[in-house]
């Protein structure tokens, strides 16, 4: 991963400090399996620099950005770069203190405390990924205030307080204005360094496709990239919703072709059909039809 950072143009001084961090806080034997091995890499040196510096300075991160900006990929990449075990915590409407911190359970005829992911992460000094943090009610997130700020503690009533292991960091992601999300309250937002995730550029998407599918012909890397940008442009001009703007879908489509579907069939199920509105689907279909030949197969697009 560090070599990848060098390729991305991250300065040697930062890389040296990452190495120092990793030396200082090696992951415990039992937690090794939690250190992610990223399948996708995040491209964008500016963002890397911001995030690395913030984490080295002991700050928590909030990654904000629309769909297909690689928030989760980046969060996973960061855990890998710093060599920290990762805890993924998906936030939803009914997320509450007990799902985060832990809850009482009934074990061997006794009531005992079952640690939630935040506690587990804090003790192991891991990276906690707070996915879609603004899906949860602000009130239920209040329990995290002491955890996320300078106090770095978790206080569970009836139990001793847990002090966060020094390498512990939390990386939250959110998609502002996405259906089903809420305004994040100031008290919570102030406990994060906020990084606005830029939309993936054409050049970075080409890199991503090339890294992911090395045998994909350059011609089709560029066609798929332009296709994605055309869909994005249509979303930005409010002609269609963002349902079809699906980077995961695009990557999955290439994989489907690799496994035998024609490119058009793959795009049908991976991108086009994600628009459930009939007319919207027609518009997306038109973009695909005017970009991708219906008969392209594995042997045509892979070398």
């Amino acid at each position: 991963m560090l070599d990848f950072l060098r390729q991305e143009g991250i300065g040697e001084d930062l890389i040296a400090r990452i190495e120092e961090y990793r030396r200082q806080w090696p992951a415990a034997e039992g937690d090794r399996a939690r250190i992610p091995v990223p399948r996708f890499r995040y491209y964008g040196s500016e963002i890397w620099k911001l995030a690395i510096t913030a984490i080295l300075s002991g700050e928590n991160l909030l990654l904000v950005g629309p769909k297909a900006t690689g928030k989760n990929v980046f969060a996973e990449n960061l855990s890998a770069v710093f060599g920290r075990p990762e805890w993924d915590i998906s936030f939803y409407l009914n997320t509450d203190a007990s799902t985060l911190i832990g809850t009482d359970t009934f074990k061997n005829g006794e009531v005992s405390f079952r640690k939630g992911p935040i506690c587990a992460c804090a003790e192991a000094g891991g990276f906690g990924i707070l996915d879609e943090i603004n899906m949860a009610k602000n009130e239920s997130l209040a329990v995290l205030h002491a955890t996320l700020d300078f106090r770095r503690i978790i206080d569970v009533p009836g139990y001793s307080r847990i002090i966060l292991a020094p390498p512990t960091r939390f990386i939250a992601t959110m998609n502002y204005g996405y259906a089903g999300t809420r305004e994040l309250n100031e008290a919570l937002a102030s406990r994060f360094m906020v990084i606005n995730m830029p939309v993936i550029t054409g050049a970075d998407l080409e890199k991503l496709l090339a890294q992911q599918y090395p045998s994909l012909k350059a011609e089709y890397i560029s066609q798929l990239t332009v296709l994605f940008e055309e869909i994005r442009r249509k979303c930005e001009s409010s002609e269609i919703s963002t349902k079809a703007l699906d980077l995961r879908g695009l990557l999955a489509a290439v994989n489907l072709v690799f496994n035998g579907l024609s490119l058009r069939e793959a795009l049908d199920i991976a991108i086009i059909n994600k628009s459930f509105d009939g007319f919207e689907r027609t518009l997306v279909e038109d973009i695909v039809s005017t970009r991708i030949n219906g008969s392209l197969k594995k042997e045509d697009i892979f070398e």
Binding site: T103, T105, F106, A179, E230, E236, S237, E239, I287, S289
Partner: protein, 539 residues
């Protein structure tokens, strides 16, 4: 392809293909192509878009403007596009290999352009060609010896056959300049300028009531019910005025008003058709707005529903119940959270239907439709009414009731006429709300908040009275809004007026007022306001 056989959706689809080809969404496409079924043509629309990107299109537009001066402009423009197509095909192909399989058989044209030509050179070459082959001067005049086809009343087809110009038949249909549609679209939107209070008040109350019924529709309450309501509501500032409730069901015309009313009804029908056209014209955007608004409302409904904790066989262990597992073998020692139903909330939409709104009926009915439709999708009961005042009557017209399942399209039967006695209308709406059993009630008023009625504020029979307008009417309306709020009804206003009226509106509705400057932000703005109110319910 004739204009009227192409659906709005296909037109929008053609627009999208062109924008995609142009990589620019900021212009209104002029040329659009459809196939024989009226479906947008993939290839040609892309070519039109590509022309926008490749060339300085304003220069080409000048050429089109010149060609448009001629009766057969569509033929000339077809020739032009057929000539430009091979150039665009060759230059686009590398970036879009699929064009090869999409391209129809290219047409043979005598007019030819080179790949490297600039827009200026293309326009110059085309101008020269049209002058030499068709005698076009470019200002609407034709050289004498080329005037043959029209002079002889010959069809363009036979002319072209004789002239041997191989015109690609399909492309004769290409001409589809947007302004042609627009003319047709706005045809239904004749602005109605008739005054609302032209009938004198010498008629007796029952006669007036009959007149109002002819105009607005059959009453929904009996005479005694209305008397009861008037005793209750037409008091204070509204003494000596009347109320009229209707569902909008038309009354057969008879008697002295028929000719006048026939004429009026025709105009109303035109306005109602205009409302529908207005909505259809922006159908895609309106549907997106509806979807967006309903998602944000339904999310908020979910959020503010009171969660209920129930005993269950799985879920979170409830320590208080745990002993039952060991002692009683009761497995239900867990708790699961279930969200209660949102059914205890209702929304009423009240549209100002006074004369000042006549120019905005299309946008107001569309906005009301978007809100009603979004609420319906979230299963929030919604009622839509309009109000206006005429000859001392304040008319409450009901478009759809809480129970009416499905059809929100009756909202487009909205038209505006007469004055508006906002104070009384709000009072009447409040009374209607008080009869419902919902726990949380919301009233959304779409109005320019400019109350004015010719029926004066009178203390007794002999009082000449004070006029119901200006600050006095605003104060009266503000008092009614306060009264509704005191009864626990959330009142919010979507302001539809102009800058001058805004301060007045603010005094009446205070913070709970939004102004829609740009309909694209409609869902966000209205959503926020509605959700803000729902948040109060949860407190």
């Amino acid at each position: 392809m004739m204009d009227n056989t192409v659906s709005e959706l296909q037109k929008r689809r053609a627009d999208n293909l062109i924008w995609n080809g142009a990589e620019d969404y900021s212009f209104a496409p002029d040329f659009k192509a459809y196939d024989d079924n009226g479906d947008a043509d993939l290839y040609w629309n892309l070519i039109f878009g590509a022309a926008r990107r490749r060339y300085d299109y304003s220069k080409l537009e000048k050429l089109f403007a010149q060609l448009d001066r001629y009766r057969d402009s569509d033929v000339y423009e077809s020739i032009f596009w057929n000539a430009l197509e091979p150039v665009l095909y060759r230059t686009e192909l590398s970036g879009r290999p699929v064009l090869e399989s999409l391209r129809p058989k290219p047409a043979e044209t005598a007019l030819k352009f080179d790949d490297g030509m600039s827009a200026d050179e293309i326009v110059e070459t085309a101008g020269k060609y049209f002058y030499e082959h068709y005698g076009l001067y470019g200002d609407g005049k034709i050289r004498l010896k080329y005037r043959l086809p029209h002079m002889r009343r010959m069809s363009v087809d036979s002319f072209l056959q004789r002239g041997g110009k191989g015109l690609y038949r399909k492309l004769a249909d290409l001409h589809d300049r947007t302004f042609v549609h627009e003319k047709g679209l706005y045809g239904g939107l004749t602005v109605f300028t008739g005054g609302g209070d032209s009938i004198g008040t010498k008629l007796t109350e029952p006669e007036l009531r009959e007149f109002i019924a002819t105009k607005f529709g059959k009453p929904i309450y009996t005479a005694s019910q209305v008397r009861q309501l008037e005793r209750q509501l037409c008091t204070g500032n509204h003494r000596f005025t009347h109320l009229f409730y209707t569902g909008g069901e038309t009354v057969e015309l008879s008697g002295v008003y028929s000719t006048f009313e026939m004429h009026q009804r025709k105009r109303q029908a035109e306005i109602m058709a205009g409302n529908r056209v207005y909505y259809e014209k922006n159908r895609i955007r309106n549907r997106l707005l509806t979807a967006k608004l309903s998602t944000s409302i339904s999310n908020s409904v979910l959020l503010h529903m009171q969660p209920e904790s129930v005993k269950a066989a799985s879920g979170e262990v409830d320590p208080k119940l745990a002993w039952r597992a060991a002692r009683l073998g009761d497995e239900k020692v867990f708790r699961r959270t279930e969200n209660a139903n949102a059914g205890d909330m209702s929304v009423d939409i009240l549209l100002d239907a006074s004369h000042s709104q006549t120019r905005r009926t299309g946008s107001i009915s569309s906005q009301a439709h978007i809100i009603a439709e979004a609420l319906k999708r979230c299963h929030v009961p919604c009622r839509v009414m309009s109000f206006c005042s005429m000859s001392g009557f304040t008319v409450m017209k009901l478009f759809s009731d809480y129970s009416s399942s499905g059809d929100s399209s009756r909202i487009f039967d909205y038209w505006a006429e007469g004055c508006n006695r906002d104070g009384l209308a709000l009072r009447a709406a409040g009374e209607m709300l008080s009869r419902t059993s919902y726990e949380h009630k919301m009233l959304i008023v779409l109005s320019d908040v400019k109350p004015m009625d010719i029926a004066k504020i009178r203390r007794d029979e002999r009082d000449v009275g004070l006029s119901y307008d200006g600050a006095r009417a605003l104060t009266d309306t503000a008092r009614e809004v306060r009264r509704l709020r005191a009864e626990g009804i959330s009142v919010i206003c979507i302001f539809t007026g102009t800058d001058e009226e805004l301060p007045g509106a603010k005094t009446v509705y205070g913070q709970d007022l939004v102004r829609i400057r740009d309909l694209n932000h409609f869902a966000d703005t209205v959503g926020k306001l509605i959700i803000g109110q729902m948040r109060n319910y949860a407190m």
